[in-house]
Symmetry: C2
């Protein structure tokens, strides 16, 4: 059986599974900013606020590898690269929504 495809080794607990994919501040922020729609690299960098190019690229590569994000390169000069969420990426919206709602209520209490 030489063609055995390695199954991803996922944790038994579903919460941990989710954490392996987006258990990371940067990825959550990328999701937040891509959920409304496609963005260019530079736009994304600006909208996230304070992230270095290095880290942003690394996180995007990671999410691309995990099929959460699409990367589309336009062969222009200067280069244009557009990032968008895959369907799988979009399917994380309920988590982001829950985080949004909780944060809102938390801030409302603390005024």
């Amino acid at each position: 059986m030489p063609e055995q495809i390695a199954k991803k080794e996922l944790p038994a607990c579903p919460v941990e599974t989710t954490l392996t994919l987006i258990g990371d501040k940067w990825k959550v922020l990328i999701l937040r900013d891509l959920l409304p729609g496609t963005k260019r690299f530079g736009e994304l960098k600006k909208s996230i606020g304070s992230v270095s190019q290095k880290v942003l690229t690394a996180q995007l590569r990671d999410m691309e590898k995990n099929a959460l994000v699409n990367r589309k390169v336009y062969p222009e000069v200067p280069p244009r690269v557009e990032y968008s969420l895959t369907e799988l990426g979009q399917s994380l919206k309920p988590i982001l929504d829950a985080m949004w709602n909780w944060g809102e209520e938390y801030k409302a209490r603390n005024i």
Copy 2:
């Protein structure tokens, strides 16, 4: 106005606000394991699976400071310390639920 109480400096974005409180793998796992109910330190350590004493204590202290977790010490020997979620901590359940559901579906797809 000497009694001005310092307002917590929270990010404008609610998602980021949530991240400042539980944007951390360990805290999510602690929430997961305390949502069903009170646990002693040792039980929590075991149920989380692979966390060192040092890290677990640090995270619990942090969550206690942020009023997510209650710490109750019983003056016995050997000492008994019980951890439970505050109401605020419990209110994070929808986020955990969303993460649970997503993880389940993700694993189902990848079988």
